[in-house]
């Protein structure tokens, strides 16, 4: 029997998709659920609609917490509850479980949330290779895959139940039946490689906030592409009036003060592609981020020509993300839009703030090319 609530649910989905009730659109919020990847907390985009009330501005309010730390200790992002008021009392007990998510799982969740299409492979089309994915726990398996925590818990349970547990000398010896092993599943993966070439404007007008946005975007882009390709390489180019290749660390932490010539980056990108990535076997994804300022209309024309004649023919998709900054004119995206209005493999996105990140990822990756 279908659940009654499905009706309410599909109504909610339609609001989120913007089909109905546009007046509620501005209350849509993202990033409600929190998972963990290694040490970092990662918010998973789960949309919700926050109906306005008379209520306190949360940041003015602060609150009471519990735990270690001296005054001045910083609370980890995600540790503070999103809003100041609890849900109108419901007699339910819901508990957040701390789970470690693998990159695969993250990509899967992302793909599902944003309804991203699987990528159509461009390189060698029909070759696939098996890929091993750990997905469960079994009672048999090789010792190298023993699940330590589960085995220990099992042994602890048995020794308490059988009365051999001695609190003074809490030694637990697992027997054969206690042991638990990771088990795997084999998935077919396209045997092809992809390279992402990140380019970013580091002239003075790109501030820390803008770079933080680019950093988060690139994390999700990497995650998604990695789940779609067997191997993923990333290269980084920064530019002001001239461009150079740098490592990841430098990419996110350089700040120059010169002018901006975007064509310099596109030239270097082209050279890089020619030198290292044969289009027959590589899927190529250039991503360029800037605040939309360019030195001159001439240079912009050069960029457009470079893209048209050299880059677009060789890449799966070229993406340009324009990060809003107080100093940028935001002209560049308009020029690109004009030039590539109906071109399949060009994705353009304007990112006004952190909340817009998921939308722009969808714009970048939603074409499935």
């Amino acid at each position: 029997m279908p659940l009654k609530i499905k009706q309410d649910h599909s109504r909610f989905r339609e609001i989120i998709r913007g089909r109905i009730k546009n007046n509620l659109r501005k209350y849509i919020q993202k990033g409600e659920m929190i998972g963990k990847k290694g040490k970092d907390l990662i918010t998973i985009p789960v949309p919700s609609i926050d109906i306005p009330h008379f209520r306190y501005g949360h940041k003015d309010q602060g609150g009471v917490g519990q735990g270690d730390g001296e005054p001045g200790t910083v609370l980890a992002p995600g540790a503070v509850e999103g809003d100041g008021h609890g849900k109108a009392g419901q007699g339910e007990g819901q508990h957040a479980l701390e789970v470690d998510l693998s990159l695969d799982e993250l990509a899967e969740i992302l793909g599902e949330e944003l309804a991203l299409p699987r990528i159509q492979n461009k390189g060698k089309k029909n070759l696939v290779t098996p890929k091993v994915k750990y997905s469960g726990v079994h009672t048999t398996g090789p010792e190298s895959l023993r699940h330590f925590k589960r085995t220990y818990k099992q042994a602890l349970k048995r020794s308490i139940a059988s009365g051999t547990y001695n609190p003074a000398l809490p030694i637990i010896v697992p027997t054969r039946e206690d042991k638990r092993y990771r088990s795997w599943r084999v998935q077919e993966m396209p045997q092809s490689n992809a390279v992402v070439i990140y380019m970013m404007d580091v002239s003075g007008s790109m501030g820390d906030e803008q770079k933080e946005i680019v950093r988060i975007e690139s994390f999700w882009i990497d995650t998604w592409l990695r789940a779609n390709y067997k191997g993923l390489e990333t290269r980084y180019i920064i530019h002001d009036a001239v461009a150079r290749e740098v490592d990841r660390e430098t990419f996110f932490h350089t700040r120059e003060s010169g002018g901006t010539m975007i064509s310099s980056a596109y030239k270097l990108c082209k050279e890089m592609m020619d030198a290292d990535y044969d289009t027959g076997s590589w899927n190529i994804y250039p991503f360029h981020f800037s605040d939309g300022d360019n030195w001159s209309a001439d240079d912009t024309r050069t960029c457009v020509n470079l893209l048209k004649s050299e880059i677009l023919t060789k890449v799966n998709q070229f993406a340009y993300g324009q990060v809003e900054s107080p100093y940028g004119s935001g002209q560049f995206i308009k020029d690109l839009r004009e030039a590539f209005d109906s071109v399949e493999n060009v994705a353009l996105s304007e990112i006004s703030n952190k909340d817009a990140i998921y939308n722009s990822i969808k714009e970048f990756l939603g074409k499935g090319s």
Partner: protein, 498 residues
């Protein structure tokens, strides 16, 4: 819960229920008959999204809750352990796939809640047949939808939800509105003090004094002409009585108001209620119900429930610790003047009068306290230090949250502030005929924290849609009095003294 499916609990669980119920009664818990139903995770998510009820009127927000719960479950991020509704008989739900030890824990926890629902004063006026009432509300709203269509009803419900917190959290316990008295427009008669002798009159009741008295009486009479006579906290009630609502709109607003009042006490007793239920599940499980083979799983799940993170209070944890603290204090006689006055640290630490009054005390407390009074009376400096409580705040410069202080008085004040009026700003209707133009004026009783301005404006717009005439609210922003007004088209701010 639904007609097509047998949700009767299987014999194995019914045996467990009998066992746990016996322990609970043995400890002196006093609860309504409690009916357990076993549901799959999809169904339990649905019921939870409906606020514990199997049947609610159609609205997208239930779908939103459902999506969040199901995703949390599917991605392995969260899971509903226990759900119970305040009703007679009480209904509680068990997740089908749980292990027996989990079901035991949930049952023990649920009996704690039902005991609290039945005995705590905050719930005295709640409808114990809410299960039926909610189903009636659902039917009534569906009938209205059939008549006027989904869109207008949904829009009206959205608006009502926006105003839903504007109720008088405590009004169920007493009558706030004065009875209307018919006072005729008699001329004001000023009576001074009694003067036995005529010639004394000018000395006992000088002219200035009589004038003053006359003015006072006139003011009083003017106040009575005000509408409402005194500021009214129950804004929803005021709208129901005085806003030009369509019949069906009034019907919906009134049933939503009723539901808001039904849920309100659960919000006012989150810490003591969850704490009480946890206290009893812990007691019942560890002293009676657990088998040796179940201890590890129990410990795992119990500690999962009690987990804390730095930026939030876990009501389960704070509650259970506070109940234990109270029981221990009354067992050892750590209360009263003698103990309070003792400033010898060693004597205090060893203090034990072996009174054994703990159990009796906590049962008494669970009758007469809500979160605010519970924290106010029983959160001691020792306890705050033991539990490592602190105040945190937002550092604008560093754009991050920081620990501000561990000083006991500050922690307690902040905690109480968070809990007062259920963490909601106090807002009341002060004038239903503002500036003699039929406009509605609300006032925010500012207690040091500003309202969120963009939300306040949008809420005003929702209020205006019901009142039809312009609406306004006075509050303070950045230390200055502001009157925000919305006339149906434009927002305007004006500086005022407030």
């Amino acid at each position: 819960m639904n007609e097509n499916r047998d949700t009767q609990i299987p014999p194995r669980l019914s045996d467990i229920k009998k066992e746990i119920e016996g322990y609970a009664r043995g400890f002196g818990l006093d609860f309504y008959e409690t009916i357990f139903e076993v549901l799959g995770y999809d169904e339990i998510n649905m019921v939870a999204a409906y606020g514990g009820f199997p049947n609610r009127y159609p609205h997208w927000r239930f779908g939103m809750e459902y999506e969040q719960l199901s995703k949390g479950y599917e991605y392995g991020l969260s899971k509903i352990y226990e759900m119970v509704i305040n009703n007679n008989p009480s209904y509680a739900y068990l997740l089908e796939s749980n292990m027996d030890v989990d079901q035991k824990l949930v049952m023990a926890h649920v009996f704690g809640h039902v005991d609290f629902f039945k005995n705590n004063f905050s719930f005295r006026h709640t409808n114990r047949k809410m299960m039926d009432e909610m189903a009636n509300h659902a039917t009534r709203v569906r009938r209205i939808i059939d008549k006027v269509g989904l869109e207008p009803v949904e829009t009206f419900v959205d608006r009502s939800l926006s105003l839903e917190n504007l109720i008088d959290q405590h009004s169920q316990h007493f009558q706030r509105r004065a009875k209307d008295k018919d006072e005729e427009d008699k001329p004001i008669e000023v009576r001074g003090f009694k003067a036995d002798r005529e010639y004394m009159q000018g000395f006992i009741n000088p002219r200035e004094f009589l004038d003053e008295q006359r003015k006072k009486l006139e003011d009083e009479r003017a106040a009575k002409k005000k509408f409402p006579e005194r500021p009214q906290r129950d804004v929803l009630q005021f709208l129901l009585e005085h806003a030009p609502l369509e019949r069906w709109e009034g019907e919906i607003l009134s049933l939503m108001r009723e539901e808001a009042y039904y849920f309100a006490p659960q919000g006012q007793t989150k810490i003591c209620n969850e704490g009480w239920a946890s206290f009893w599940h812990s007691k019942i499980m560890t002293e009676k119900a657990l088998k040796d083979s179940e201890i590890v799983d129990y410990a795992d799940h119990h500690s999962g429930t009690m987990g804390t993170r730095p930026g939030a209070i876990n009501p389960y944890k704070l509650g259970i610790e506070l109940w234990r603290h109270i029981e221990d204090r009354w067992n050892r006689g750590r209360f009263g003047k003698e103990y309070d006055d003792c400033d010898d640290l060693r004597a205090r630490r060893a203090w034990d009068k072996k009174l054994g009054l703990g159990r009796q005390k906590i049962f008494e407390v669970r009758k007469h306290y809500n979160d605010v009074t519970f924290i106010d009376e029983f959160l001691t400096a020792d306890f705050a230090a033991e539990q490592k409580l602190f105040v945190y705040g937002f550092n604008e410069k560093g754009n991050r949250w920081e620990i501000l202080d561990r000083e006991f008085q500050k922690v307690k004040r902040k905690l109480l502030q968070q809990l007062t009026n259920f963490g909601q700003p106090i807002i009341e209707v002060v004038d239903g005929n503002f500036e003699n133009r039929g406009e509605l004026l609300l006032a925010h009783r500012h207690d040091g924290v500003d309202l969120r301005v963009d939300y306040a404006k949008d809420t005003l717009a929702n209020l205006q849609a019901m009142w039809r005439r312009p609406v306004a609210i006075v509050t303070r922003v950045d230390g200055k009095g502001v009157l925000m007004r919305f006339d149906g088209r434009d927002h305007a701010d004006r500086k005022v003294d407030y």
